[in-house]
Symmetry: C2
Subunit: 143 residues, 2 copies
């Protein structure tokens, strides 16, 4: 499932955007929605990878058995999304270059798996080095 999120992150990078991707799956592995960060592409600060995947999945009545797969540890905004909608599980590609609210989600009963995927680490390491301005803007960090 992480492959889909990585594809999304790479697509975002190819568009000149921030390389974070995500996908929401049903419990049986069916893909419900996929997306990537769209701050640069659409001038839209509300479309993080996870919110884009959540939006693409459309209206759903029950998220308890769904799985949010993301290339990077979810920020507080995206962690709040997971908690509010009761998404049952989160798979995180890596939490080395940024650590958001995944521990908080685990404390609140979400099944959290944190990987150390080299593709994900590489995408963000290179991007943060190349465009620190964009990265810090995306997480609301003021220099």
């Amino acid at each position: 499932m992480l492959d889909v999120a990585v594809e999304e992150a790479r697509a975002g990078l190819a568009e000149g955007g921030i390389p974070i991707g995500a996908a929401l799956f049903a419990g049986d592995g069916t893909l419900l929605g996929r997306g990537h960060n769209r701050r640069v592409q659409d001038g839209d600060p509300s479309m993080h990878a996870e919110t884009a995947a959540f939006k693409a999945a459309g209206r759903q009545r029950d998220y308890r058995t769904t799985i949010m797969v993301t290339t990077l540890s979810p920020c507080w905004y995206c962690s709040g999304l997971v908690r509010q909608f009761g998404i049952g599980a989160v798979v995180v590609g890596e939490a080395q270059t940024f650590s958001g609210g995944h521990d908080w989600l685990a404390e609140h009963g979400v099944d959290v798996t944190v990987l150390s995927d080299e593709r994900c680490v590489g995408l963000m390491t290179d991007f943060i080095a190349a465009r620190p301005d964009l990265w810090f803007e995306d997480i609301g960090e003021v220099p």
Copy 2:
């Protein structure tokens, strides 16, 4: 400032949507963005009132002096938005019909003001009575 959020909530109701509105203001009172819940109108579960106002404000580099005004206590999703982007203050029209993460925000240094605005209470009380299905879907509560 709450008047703008109430106008947004009423506009959403008139469109057949969920009557929650919000607006993001600069510290000097300048309106940066306004919006309302768009689940019904756009089939978009990611557009809560606060995220709609945040999106409408476009890319901003520093939210520390901004004020998010919303007709209803922000859910975890919208509370996570406020925390991640460092929005300095939140004004809540009412927290009687629903209580989200506003206390958590206050614990994390956000200047939170909770009002008991009768217009806001009335909008949600009537809406929840009329369309409990839509309301519970919007906050991810499963019957």
